[in-house]
Symmetry: D2
Subunit: 334 residues, 4 copies
């Protein structure tokens, strides 16, 4: 039988998840949707065929017609909803962050461990991108020797007006923190943040340079620029002992036009990581159906939030912050 | 209800199609498989869950458990199988070529038209590649002005030993003939073929340069190299009035290693066009379920074979062969 | 003592040659200039320091203050001036073409042979481009095996209004004919020309596709587009038995701006081949001072014109023209 | 009259400078050479034509046959030789560093200012590289808005065995410190250094990440990897308010071979910056002959050394070091 998925949150990201399921993911179908704005939920449902619309998230989670839950609600709602899913014994894929505080993340981890089984996946979709996958394989196979440095670049075209420097670090930067930890397969021991001057086009927030040091001494540089203007651009180069491997994201065609030879930059993460979102869904459904847990666990979500919090602390203090090592519980081994 | 698909031919390509369906295509499932080699059919079926194995292609086509047919059998079997599907009133997606002779293609076209409805799609999967799609859009929108020239390159790493120069033109080159006709949205009026000397590594067949002239005067150059050694490589550049648009196929990562900065070339068309094969299946299923016909029609398959035959004639004659114009029946409009 | 160079022709190309000499070429200095337009000659001389201005080309060639002659005068003047240099026993570097007819070229070859020594170099500057140099080395060393095909692209941004289709073939295309013959180190045996429809932006001339076949069976495709609009672009890919080598001309910086990631295309051949022009001058001066003859000889200039003439014949006849083999005189060995 | 240049130091770099002069730099010629190893000086002289060989550097500097001095002697000799040139009133181009201590640099600056005229140029040749030149122009013209961040990568293939981590920072890193200060046209206010773990291939020194903060808040990241193995690689990307501009160093040809599509990485800085070395010489000769001073001044050499010293201090202290602002004397304006 197909896994019947309930979607909580019918905004842009929720609608994208729904579209992926509508296009076909083996062994799964979207069964119910819910949104705090009922109108938005009904509008989405109309595009999807036979899908139930529920008024309350709690009802969706409790519904016998829902086997697994996909959370794309606003950030503060994440932890309570994930805890409800755990309480109901239902697998859940939650958009990042797992919770809006480190404590909240810790609470989810504790609840999941107490439940006795792995139920939570966090939507760090980049782990399913073909480029990062190849970089991770290079680390695992040591095909270029061991990693020494990793350079990450995260540029948004224009971030929403309300985004602050703290959010540039914690909300955008956290994607890099998770993927860097994933690529290197180890935790971070220290973090330093140096802010650049703001663009005159957006003077109330600053591009950030975040320096992470892994437990074994790999140095990770992370540029996060919220208002790059020219497009959405995510870059990564892993410097290893005998060579480097880099993301090479390029659209399928190149143009020679008006004095320039090049290609179009992506508009946002939804196009750039469209394939990764789909692969994430396939892997999650596979796990729900009894396969190996895939993607970021609640522990990974917790560690990402911890790193982001340490980065904020380093940013405010203007110095290097050392992060105490923390052993991954066996529960999250795999 | 899901479209129940029957697959005829369980070789490499058939297995790939089966894998696409297994990974999930909305509205469809693989219901039955058949192969002249029954063992091969059973081996494939075992990897697929509940799928019937049939002994005879005719039985599969006739089966009430099969709504639509996917043909990946050897080339000479294509036309008879497609005709049987038409006779049974079942939609069919047939790997290229539609038939192994121009006459065979014409027979299919005639039978389909007589049947009163569109049933046949030919597996020219490149039409679903994102790069060619963007090139076609550039032509439709005249975003770079009208096309003047098109350069195509088709290189196989090492073709099978039995492939002859004639097959280099007709079997490999036909992919370029179809995609060029698709991109330009017009038929060809003339063809010239000039053979290069053979590689000493494979002296019994020659790389070919095929020159096509479209009805409106666009010149298409097609290099087909059967034994490029370094990898599988398909290139295309469309030269328009105010700029050019080119395929930019690159794996998701770049490497700097051992004195070189670059990226890995594909091994074969299955990886290069993996996404295109999936998109082709999605579009076919959509059409079978009542949507717009997509991809190459029987008419397109006929025109491709006609062009290939004219190229063979030009090759043998050592001169330019003019192709008589032929109007597309209204039946194939759209 | 420095070689004292006399320059005939003070237009754009002549001024560029003068600038190269002014910037410093070991063992040479510009001693005299002449132009049919005396004002232009004087204006150029004023920018150059102590340089004599002569009224007549004949006087410049005859002058005891001039050791070697650089010809950048209009095309029809080339052959008579080169013949005068030969008669005076003075080395000459003549902009291409060597003469404006095949007969004219033959006359120069005969005169030079009769003179008993090598005096003439033709300004096919591409032979000194680092990219073509590397391609030629790959052929000589067979580092990628023997060549099978060569693809050349020659695009001007916008050609002058008076340029005709015949000139597109003979004047622009001849650069490709010379460099292809140089890269392959063999003569051509046949040529076919297929014209594309004209751009609506310049309806009175057509982009051309020229197909050359070398004596040993290498096929060369040459696209010449006079009005590419987006910039000046010269491309080349040599397809060999085990790999390909391509020109990779890119300015020293890349830009990410306004939704595009790429680099600026050159405006014209003067920037694209600026280094090649300088290297050509250095090599010519070296040869004049007793070194090995370098660059294109009068024989090469003759063969280029012969190929261009055959291409024009093929274009007018609409078919393949076979070129009779012609042995290079020992005089031009090296 | 030509400027007669005296060269002190006939090792690899000295020989390269001599070769540039031999190939022709307008208005200059190499008149004398000297090396602590007289044999080496004589061997070089033999390849150069009429060049005097001197036994002592002091004699060369004092010689009436020498108008200007080029210093390519070992680092500790730089400052004393430059001071001698200043004392003799002769223009000098000195390989970096200007002196082996900050104090030494300060001494040269003081001596030059006392002399009343600009005599010293430091051989930071990258300032003459076409790529950096274009980046500097983008800053000056604000064609992409103001700079916010700059990412620099400096990788040596394999550094000599005796190179220490301190030298990685101070000797290799100083190239980036100078060019970053040049590109941004402002001084640095703070520096932080974070060391990565060493490669197992070279365990006694570490790759370094140097973070510079400019006075106006531009953040500069500098990776210096002494043993990158795959080749010599210098990268730079300047992130500005509306786009980025990057070095795009690529050899003139691309290769498709053995499963890879790419290009050869440089072996060392001599090939990578060969053109820059030549342009530096041309600019220096121009300045010596009365033109505008060009390239890095003694002040720039001093500031580079000061920044390198601060980086070493930050490295040893493990924290951020603030650099006191220091006004450029009017003497060094321009």
């Amino acid at each position: 039988m197909d896994v019947r998925i309930g979607l909580i949150g019918c905004g842009v990201m929720g609608a994208d998840h729904a579209a992926i399921l509508r296009a076909g993911v083996a062994g799964a179908r979207l069964a119910a949707v819910q949104d705090a704005d009922g109108k938005r939920a009904r509008a989405l449902a109309e595009t999807l065929g036979t899908v139930a619309v529920m008024d309350e998230a709690a009802a969706l989670i409790a519904s016998p017609e829902v086997d697994a839950v996909l959370i794309a609600a606003p950030d503060p709602a994440h932890a309570p909803l994930v805890l409800a899913c755990i309480a109901a014994g239902k697998p859940v894929l939650c958009e990042k962050p797992l919770a809006d505080t480190v404590e909240g993340c810790r609470g989810v981890v504790a609840a999941e461990m107490k439940s006795g089984g792995r139920l939570v996946q966090v939507g760090f979709m980049r782990r399913f991108d073909a480029g990062y996958h190849a970089m991770r394989q290079a680390v695992e196979r040591e095909s270029l020797g061991a990693p020494l440095m990793l350079h990450c670049v995260h540029r948004n075209k224009v971030a929403p007006d309300y985004i602050t420097s703290a959010q540039v670090i914690a909300n955008s930067g956290v994607h890099e923190m998770d993927i860097a930890r994933y690529l290197l397969a180890e935790d971070f021991a220290a973090v330093t943040v140096i802010s650049a001057r703001p663009s005159r086009l957006m003077p109330n927030r600053q591009p950030q340079m975040i320096l992470l040091e892994s437990a074994r001494g790999v140095v990770v540089s992370v540029e996060v620029t919220p208002d790059a203007q020219y497009g959405y651009d995510v870059r990564g180069e892993l410097v290893c002992e005998s060579g480097t491997i880099s993301l090479a994201p390029a659209p399928p065609v190149a143009l020679r036009q008006a004095g320039l030879d090049g290609f179009a930059v992506e508009e946002d993460w939804r196009t750039r990581f469209g394939e990764a979102y789909r692969a994430q869904m396939v892997a999650w459904v596979h796990a729900v159906r009894g396969g190996q847990p895939a993607g970021a666990s609640a522990w990974d979500g917790y560690m990402a939030s911890r790193t982001a919090a340490a980065a904020l602390e380093a940013w405010q203090a203007g110095g290097r912050v050392v992060m105490a090592p923390e052993s991954r519980p066996d529960f999250y081994a795999v």
